[in-house]
């Protein structure tokens, strides 16, 4: 039964997790608006979400060093850094920085709103599950 509960919330969990990661990437872009040679990063949310839902998180998992055959292998996965893309600037800057503050701010606000919308959906889902359980 627990796995069904887990499955009911899985999609939203993955979406929230990716939104939080994207928020972090965008925050870093805004933080580096004045850093020479910094290249603005982002990732394709839709494809990453599809990947996370279909194949689970983290294409490459972090392996723990096992010095004995009886050690249990951990299943930790890290954020796949390789999937981070570079933004193509519409106006290039002379110091090699590709952060465009207006675009980043819009993306940040948009991402925050979508994160909040996702939270609302999760809350509603939990409420309906609770009322079904009572």
């Amino acid at each position: 039964m627990i796995d069904k509960l887990d499955a009911a919330l899985r999609f939203n969990r993955e979406a929230l997790n990716l939104r939080a990661q994207r928020q972090e990437v965008l925050a870093a872009n805004i933080a580096h608006a004045d850093t020479p040679n910094y290249k603005a990063r982002d990732f394709d949310f839709a494809s990453r979400l599809t990947q996370a839902v279909e194949q689970g998180r983290g294409g490459q998992s972090v392996q723990m060093a096992a010095t004995s055959s009886r050690h249990i292998q951990g299943q930790a996965s890290s954020m796949p850094d390789r999937d981070l893309l570079y933004r193509v600037p519409s106006q290039s800057s002379i110091d090699g920085n590709t952060v465009e503050m207006d675009a980043e701010r819009i993306n940040f606000a948009d991402n925050a709103l979508r994160y909040e919308a996702n939270l609302t959906v999760v809350s509603a889902k939990i409420k309906s599950l609770l009322s079904a359980a009572q």
Partner: protein
């Protein structure tokens, strides 16, 4: 397993950017204040200084998402302004005084830029905080 500190990281990234921008503002203030300082502690005229930002490595390999680090404060190598003022005690044999190479207009724009960037990071921080607080009330 989620990224260990996925959203807590926003706070450190934006926080480091704010610290870096405020250091830039400090240097600008020093430049503006010393725009007329003919002699510093070493007896030489003041030279304008600029901060250089770089990405603080997060220690996780090639991933270059991290906070802002001040790589160093560099001195402006451009020539000093020579002003003709024979009455000045620091004047040379020809009556010229070496004045600091501070460009006041440049410093003012630098200051505005630093303050705008600082504000942007404060807003990022506020948004992240709001989202965190809302996340804590999931399912209530």
């Amino acid at each position: 397993m989620p990224h260990p500190s996925t959203s807590m990281n926003i706070f450190s990234v934006a926080g480091s950017a704010m610290a870096a921008q405020s250091q830039r503002m400090n240097v600008t203030a020093s430049n503006l204040a010393n725009a007329e300082s003919v002699a510093g502690p070493d007896g030489k005229p003041y030279r304008a200084k600029q901060v250089v930002f770089e990405v603080a490595s997060s220690g996780s390999g090639q991933q270059d998402i991290g906070g802002v680090k001040v790589a160093g404060v560099v001195e402006d190598p451009s020539p000093l302004k020579m002003v003709f003022d024979p009455k000045n005690p620091h004047a040379d044999a020809k009556g010229y005084v070496a004045m600091p190479n501070v460009n006041v207009v440049e410093e003012m724009t630098n200051m505005i830029s630093a303050s705008r960037s600082y504000q942007a990071n404060v807003e990022v921080l506020n948004t992240a905080k709001t989202l965190m607080v809302k996340t804590l009330t999931i399912g209530q």
